[in-house]
Symmetry: C2
Subunit: 71 residues, 2 copies
């Protein structure tokens, strides 16, 4: 299931527009997102804190998407 | 335990040298590392593939440490 999710993500991130904004390859980004979201599930279970989850996800997007970290 | 790990990481990343190379704040980096490593544990259990874990961890460091992604 995770392999399939990773393939779908990588393929969605292959577009020229995505590639120009990503700070790494679409394949790396897909793998990072899959691994990171598995971690979020663990953190959700431990803290049950929606704001914390959102802030952590936003932090990943900030370093994964160049234009966000330039803001 | 995760809170303690996050505090130790954030405090280690507070040095001027660390801050100048990180692509986000030490606090965000610490939280990302804690969440991400929880995800790595899940991926380790699913795939039991050391190379995959190392590659995924390297991908995170590439986008977390500015000088690495410039290489």
């Amino acid at each position: 299931m995770l392999d399939r999710l990773e393939r779908i993500l990588a393929s969605s991130l292959q577009s020229k527009e995505s590639q120009s904004t990503l700070t790494c390859s679409p394949e790396s980004a897909a793998r990072l997102l899959v691994t990171f979201t598995r971690g979020l599930v663990v953190i959700e279970r431990v803290y049950q804190d929606t704001d914390r989850l959102k802030a952590t996800a936003a932090s990943l997007l900030d370093i994964l998407i160049a234009s966000r970290s330039d803001l």
